[in-house]
Assembly symmetry: C2
Homo-oligomer: 239 residues x 2
């Protein structure tokens, strides 16, 4: 936690917050702060700054906060992911938030196991928790939006074309001839398939919607590796 992300419900006054639970534990046992110490804080979807500890007990800590800095620039990226295996989903959500991705679509695909959609990690509370961990790692405050689409065909036919308007659209597809472009630094939509990849039918549907197939070289990367590799290629901003 390189920054404590503050939510509306944490504020007891305009410039004062009370923290409990995970953030309190982290502040006490990892950051080991004492009363009077300052630590980086940020208000969700707002500014960042410093919080000065004015009270620290076993059950809560109270901070006076000064929020006067802008968060880092968001990536102009719409990430469209075939629903990952639940144990990977958490890390992918955290990593995506850390990298500055603000728009995440979890979609179905032939090789997505139906059971994946049953995971508790898709609840609003758990999504927010994992995205928060990613933002706190990066020192960012802008909460990503996650959209869940459990049917592939209606999504690609009815929603995707509008979603891709004004963006360069790519689908990471091993074995295709075009390498992934670099330094786009412009609005981009990136589709990444499940373990085993999108089916040929799905790739055709994505291409019909406006996506260009690009490959990642001879190595087959796990989705959780492909996301930072692709983001790092497409956007200078992330470095």
């Amino acid at each position: 936690m390189n920054l404590a992300l503050l939510f509306d419900e944490d504020f007891v006054a305009q410039n004062r917050v009370v923290l409990r639970g995970r953030r309190l534990e982290h502040i006490k046992s990892i950051l080991r702060v004492s009363t009077g110490d300052q630590l980086p804080v940020g208000r969700v979807n707002g500014q960042m700054g410093l919080g000065k500890v004015i009270k620290l007990t076993d059950s809560e800590t109270e901070l006076v906060v000064v929020l006067d800095q802008q968060p880092p620039t968001p990536l102009p990226l719409t990430l469209i992911l075939a629903m990952p295996r639940p144990k990977m989903l958490r890390r992918i959500l955290q990593t995506s938030a850390t990298l500055g991705i603000k728009d995440i679509w979890l979609i179905n695909s032939y090789k997505v196991e139906k059971s994946f959609w049953q995971t508790p990690w898709l609840s609003d509370e758990n999504l927010r928790e994992n995205l928060t961990l990613g933002l706190e790692q990066a020192k960012d405050t802008a909460m990503p939006r996650v959209h869940i689409r459990k049917l592939f065909k209606p999504f690609v036919e009815d929603e995707l074309p509008a979603l891709l308007k004004g963006k360069q659209a790519l689908v990471a597809h091993p074995g295709t001839s075009a390498p992934c472009p670099t330094h786009l630094n412009s609005p981009t939509a990136l589709c990444i398939g499940p373990e085993g990849g999108f089916t040929p039918y799905e790739v055709v549907k994505l291409e019909e919607a406006g996506c260009q197939s690009v490959h990642l070289g001879p190595r087959i990367l796990r989705v959780e590796t492909a996301v930072p590799v692709l983001v790092s290629r497409l956007f200078d901003a992330c470095l």
Copy 2:
């Protein structure tokens, strides 16, 4: 497992292997192959090709293998990592192997907790298993070498200068003024600190040994994210 990595002990004849345990389970329950089917295989530190299943029982499978393809080009990268938290070490080893990194140094740093060095994941057997998982993911056969150095000063003073000869040497150091270069595609050594970063003293010692400090932008990345992000920046080969 996009490729079954074969070790000397798997070979019962020049072109025949018998597999048990994890690889057998994966072949049966995930790949669901039958006798007569073929699957991608590769010999550790050797060539890749196809293995044809000629026998499949509950306890073992026998394959006739034809190895006639070169593995992907290794990255010209020496990765020097402050010893990560054990639960992160496994993923970092797997990811590094998947990305094509062949030379990994795990070193001490002030912010590395002593307990990290006690993890069973540092045993030769466990290192090989996690690197194997990374190679099988990527479809590669060249086993990375892992070097363990539990003392920082002797490493940077006595070993590092020679290790850096003929390489561009970088240390990822948040807050420094120089951004990470891109598209080096030449022999490179990259140092990445622990959670919380190298200490100023450690950075000075690394710079004295020949490393240039570079930053990764405003976002603070976990080591497991920084590795693919940096590799993707430094080497076109990985895409």
